[in-house]
C-alpha cells in the first residue's frame, strides 16, 4: 500500500524539479545571491573595522575620516598588553580561561550522567526534572546576585575565582543537560539492550557505548558552555576584584574612554573575542542545537 502511494509521488517530484528550477529567472537568482552577499558583508563589517582599527596607529584610528588604507602597526596590541599603561591583561585572560575551562569540565561531569538518567533509563518524573533545569534559566540571574554577593562576603570568598567558577557551572548546567539529552535520545535503544545483555554496568555502558557515540555532542556542548562562561561580565564584575577579575571585567576599564585609544580598545576587543570566535566556529555545525538547548537539530 505504501509502496503504491510512494511511487507516483517520487515520479511527480522528479517531473517537478526541472520546471521548478527554470520558473525563477537567472536574474532573480543572481540578484538574491548578491543580496545574500551584501547582507553578509554588512554583518561582518563592524568586525572587519574592529580588526583593521586594532592594527592602525592611534592617530590614524582617531582620524575623523575613516582611514581604510592607513599603514598597519602592532602599536594597539603593544599598549593593550601594557607597554605604556603598565596594566597587564594577562592575569585576567588566565582567570577567564580558568573560570570558563574548569566550570565547563564541572558542567560536563555533572550533565552527562544527569542526561543519561533523563533519557536512556529515565526517572519517572523526567519531564518535570527537565523543566526544573530549564526554569532556572528563566529566573533572572541578577535577582540571585545579591545573596551570592552577601554569602561570598560572609565566607570571605569574594574575589575568588573558584566561587565564580561554581556560579558559571550552575548557569550552564541546564543548557548542557538539555543539549546532551537531545544527543542521547538519538541513540538507538537496541544498543543499550545489547549492552545490558552482555552484562555491562552503568559505568561500562557510559564509557564504551554512550561516550564514543555522543563525543561530538559533548564537544559541542563544552564549547558552548565555554563561550557563555567566557562572555559573562555582570557576576564577574560584582564578585571579583583585583586578583580574580576576568577578561570582560578588564574590558569594562575602557567603557569611559571617550573614543580615545581606539586602536587599543579594538585590539583588546579582538584579543578577548578570539577564543570565543575560535570555539564558535569549531562548534558551528552543532551551534543551533546548542543555542536552542537541543530543541532544533
Amino acid at each position: 500500500m505504501t509502496a503504491v502511494a510512494a511511487a507516483p509521488r517520487t515520479r511527480r517530484v522528479r517531473a517537478a524539479s526541472a520546471p521548478g528550477r527554470t520558473r525563477e529567472s537567472r536574474g532573480t537568482r543572481l540578484g538574491l545571491g548578491l543580496a545574500a552577499w551584501a547582507v553578509g558583508l554588512l554583518f561582518v563589517l563592524p568586525l572587519v573595522w574592529m580588526v583593521l582599527t586594532s592594527f592602525h596607529s592611534e592617530t590614524d584610528a582617531a582620524s575623523p575620516s575613516p582611514q581604510v588604507f592607513a599603514p598597519l602597526t602592532l602599536e594597539g596590541y603593544r599598549s593593550f598588553f601594557g607597554a605604556e599603561s603598565g596594566a597587564n591583561p594577562w592575569p585576567t585572560l588566565i582567570n577567564s580561561l580558568w573560570a570558563a575551562g574548569v566550570s565547563t569540565l564541572v558542567v560536563i561531569l555533572l550533565a552527562v550522567p544527569a542526561a543519561y538518567a533523563l533519557s536512556v533509563k529515565p526517572v519517572r518524573k523526567w519531564s518535570d526534572v527537565m523543566f526544573f533545569f530549564l526554569s532556572t534559566k528563566f529566573l533572572p540571574a541578577v535577582a540571585g546576585l545579591m545573596p551570592l554577593y552577601l554569602i561570598a562576603g560572609r565566607l570571605q570568598i569574594l574575589d575568588n575565582i573558584w566561587f565564580l567558577l561554581i556560579i558559571y557551572a550552575a548557569m550552564n548546567l541546564p543548557i548542557a543537560v538539555w543539549m546532551l539529552r537531545s544527543f542521547l535520545v538519538d541513540i538507538p535503544p537496541a544498543l543499550f539492550e545489547a549492552a545490558s545483555l552482555d552484562g555491562a554496568g552503568l559505568m561500562t555502558t557510559l564509557r564504551s557505548i554512550i561516550l564514543p557515540i555522543i563525543s561530538p555532542g559533548v564537544a559541542a556542548t563544552a564549547l558552548i558552555c565555554f563561550i557563555f562562561a567566557w562572555n559573562e561580565m555582570l557576576f564577574a564584575r560584582v564578585l571579583t576584584g583585583v586578583t580574580a577579575g576576568t577578561a570582560p571585567v578588564f574590558l569594562t576599564g575602557f567603557v569611559t574612554s571617550q573614543g580615545q585609544f581606539l586602536a587599543q580598545v579594538c585590539a583588546a576587543a579582538t584579543i578577548v573575542s578570539l577564543p570565543v570566535l575560535i570555539a564558535g566556529f569549531a562548534a558551528q555545525d552543532k551551534l543551533v542545537q546548542g543555542l536552542s538547548m537541543g530543541a532544533v537539530k
Binding site: G20, R23, M50, F138
Partner: protein
Amino acid sequence: MTTTAPAVERSAPTMRASQTDAQGYPTEPRARWVRRAPLVPAFVFMIVVTQLPFVATLVISFFRWSAFRPDDRGFAGFSNYVEVFVDADLRASVLTTIVLTVSVVLLSLVFGLGVALLLNRRFFGRGLVRTMIIAPFLVVPVAAALLFKHAIYNPTFGLINGVLGWFGLEGVDWITQFPLGSIIFQLVWQWTPFMTLILLAGLQSRDHEVLEAAGLDGASSWQMFVFMTLPHMRRYLELAGLLGAIYIVQNFDAVFTITSGSLGTANLPYTIYQTLFTAQNYGLASAQGVLVVIGTIIVSTFALRSVSSLLKEEASR
C-alpha cells in the same frame, strides 16, 4: 526474551527479577534509586547554587538592611515592596526593559527570517556568507558593545559619521540623540545571527516534496511562503523568540557599556545592580529581585507552555 526495553530490564544480569510498572519504570525503592543516582549530583548542585540564594533573597527582602546604616537592621514587613512600587525610576526601568526586549526580539526575528530565507538558497560562496553572518554572535558582548560605542557611534572618530562625512553629510551624536536606539541597534546586530541559525534549521526541515508539488500546481512563491512556510515556521519563530527574550531581558552588558544606564536606558538588571552597589541597600535590592522573579514566572509560565509542546512532541516520537 523479547526486544522491548522493559523486558530486557527484567532479565537484568543480577538474575533477580526487578518489578516494573506498566510504563516500564521500576517500582522497587532500591531500583528507583539506582535510576536516580546519576541525576542526583546535578540536581543537588542546582538546588544549592540557584534555589537557596532565591530563598535568601526572599528573606532579606523583608528586612531593613543597608550597608550605609549598619545599626538600623530589622524586620521591615512589606516596606521595601512599598518603596519599590512608589519608585518612579524602577517603574521606568520596567518599561525600558519591556521596550528593549520586545524591540530587539521582534527586529532580530524579522531580519533573521529574511537572512535565513536568503541563506536557504544555493548561491556562490554560501558557506562563507553563513560564517560571516554568524560572526557577530561570536564576539564577547562587552567587546561588541565597546566596539559600537567607541569605534562606530562616536560622533568624532566613529565609523558612521566618518562614512557620512565622505558624502558630505553631517552626522549626529548617536548615543546622546538615540540612547535606547543605539543599544537596540547593537543588540539586533548581535542577535540576528542567533535567530537566523534557528530559523534556517526550520526552513531546511520543510518537506521539499510538498513544496515542489505546490510549485508544480501553480502556487506562487508568495502563496507558498504565506500558506506553507509561515505555518511550518511558527514553532521555530516561537522558540527563537522565546530563547532570545530569555537572554535579552537579562541584558546588562550593552546597557552598562554603551550608556551606563543614563538617558533613560536603565533596564531592570541595571537598576538592581545600581541599588545593590551604589545605594548598597540590600533589603530594597532583594525586594526588586523578588518582584522581577514573580514577573518572570508569570511571563515564563506562558512561555514554558510552548516549549513543553515541543518536548511532548519529541517524547511521543
